[in-house]
Symmetry: C2
Subunit: 315 residues, 2 copies
């Protein structure tokens, strides 16, 4: 079995790289996994047992992403993307902002064949199985054709997780086919009439019933999906913080990934490589959760599986 | 002190009118409050201690709202709106769908002077004071000028609740001024540069931090606001149902209004009358919570206060 190498961009998280390194050291070591850290020179020798690649340039949080990426090809994010492209790592984890992450992935990795727009996909817990939600932030405005493609990407993702014919829901403000914008109505129609679908379209679904767990994939534009995700995180965090002491640990654990500090990150789906985006405000534990997610996807050889599924669907 | 009369539309809720009547009977009676029920003839004599107005026509859930309203002027909703217009009741509570409610209010009551679009406003709990969120569903797509007006309506609403200079946040996917659609960016600019504002604009706010309670008013379009509200309700319901037995009753109470069955409803703001919209799926207790909200607004003479505030702001 080949070693799985995960690139970890230490920059862009609100925690200092040494705190992230300390958390990464606590992950159970496996001889089949190697973490390769990428960061500025000052953290290289900070009791660091991992291979370390020095990034001489830093992208600041307030820099316009595209300009910064063109100028700073030796920033940790760009170095990570190139390692991924060259096959020197199997996945990259970064807490960089969405704009920088999507732009650098498109520029350096390029998109999978047939993909119109890469999107951010994340799993969130429900009363039953977790639901894959996409897009949670890469595309502020989308057309019906993008929503349909998100359904196909979500289907491939859940199939890779073992669900043979995933159930798809379109996030909307009512169940009737006429609800939402004209793009929602067109997407509804197209998802309903697609020939030989590899999914089952359950129609529109509202924010209240997503958590019943009756759909495997929730399709939405990146603006609404981002609000959906952050609202779920915000309210779960408020309630869990308030009642933390009263809940048995096993119940608490079920909702832990909704606590935004521990949110395991989102997959940038549709580019040629496994890229996991963590929140800039995720805790060291949230960050290591993202690394664990990257390892799981790399072990499944997810990109190949996704490309195979998509080439059957997208023409 | 004049009697406050609240009209209650018994139709359109998933619970039968007799269950709603039973719940309404449990409200503490006050000599200053009179509930006037409106429903079909069959429920008139069902151990009903309240004045009752018979509505001979029924709007079905799946009827296109505008056509139904034109055809069925003797439906309970239309009768309620006319009572409100004629000053025979001080507020109307209904669980009718948003389309029917907004259309009939516009047609029968008309909008307050200067209002471009009526919107749905609801209070949700945070770690500090409740935040007024608008629009939560009346306008699927809006322009910047509508968002700015929602800020003014929300300001007037929170001022009526005793907050002298409310803090306004614009629901967005990041805090930077460039985030969101072009309408968000224009609304951000206009809210920031408005002259002599009666509010303080705190900029963009994300779903995660709304619940910190640092803004008094959260401004958004009706699509995003509806997803925001229903997501908050959905996740709160999932968590509260799962851990209900573990939480002390006083903690549970704080989040009760987020449990969608008990959600007290939304105010249709911007029309000439107090109209409260409950969910069609609210429980009898959620429905009576809506009635209590209507009583509170009627006691404050809210519409006059809103019109006074708005006439100073909107030109």
């Amino acid at each position: 079995m080949n070693k799985i190498r995960i690139g970890v961009d230490l920059m862009g998280n609100e925690n200092s790289p040494q705190d992230l390194i300390a958390a990464l050291k606590e992950l159970t070591p496996s001889p089949h996994i190697e973490l390769i850290l990428i960061g500025t020179d000052e953290f290289k020798h900070h009791s660091n047992p991992f291979p370390y690649i020095t990034a001489p340039e830093v992208i600041e949080m307030d820099e316009p992403p595209l300009a910064a990426l063109r100028k700073k090809k030796k920033a940790s994010l760009c170095i990570g993307m190139r390692l991924l492209k060259e096959g020197k790592i199997e996945a990259l984890v970064s807490a960089r902002n969405t704009g920088a992450l999507v732009s650098s992935a498109k520029m350096i990795l390029s998109t999978l064949t047939g993909i119109l727009r890469p999107c951010l996909l994340t799993l969130i817990p429900t009363k039953k199985n977790p639901v894959a939600v996409l897009d949670v932030g890469a595309n502020t405005q989308v057309q019906a054709k993008h929503l349909v493609q998100f359904a196909l990407i979500g289907t491939a993702y859940q199939q890779a997780r073992g669900i043979e014919k995933p159930i798809i829901g379109l996030l909307n403000i009512g169940s009737e086919a006429v609800k939402g914008t004209s793009e929602h109505r067109l997407a509804y129609h197209n998802l309903q009439t697609i020939e030989h679908p590899t999914f089952r379209f359950a129609g529109n679904i509202e924010g209240t019933s997503v958590f019943d767990g009756n759909v495997d994939v929730l399709v939405t534009d990146g603006f609404t999906g981002n609000v959906f995700l952050k609202t779920a995180e915000g309210i779960a965090t408020m309630i869990l913080d308030r009642i933390h002491d009263h809940i048995p640990p096993n119940e608490f654990k079920k909702f832990q990934s909704l606590h935004y500090a521990e949110y395991p990150g989102a997959l940038l789906a549709g580019v040629k490589g496994i890229v996991i985006k963590c929140h800039s405000y995720s805790t060291p534990r949230g960050f290591t959760n993202g690394v664990l997610g990257a390892i799981a996807l790399a072990q499944e050889n997810f990109i190949q599986a996704l490309q195979d599924k998509l080439s059957n669907e997208i023409t």
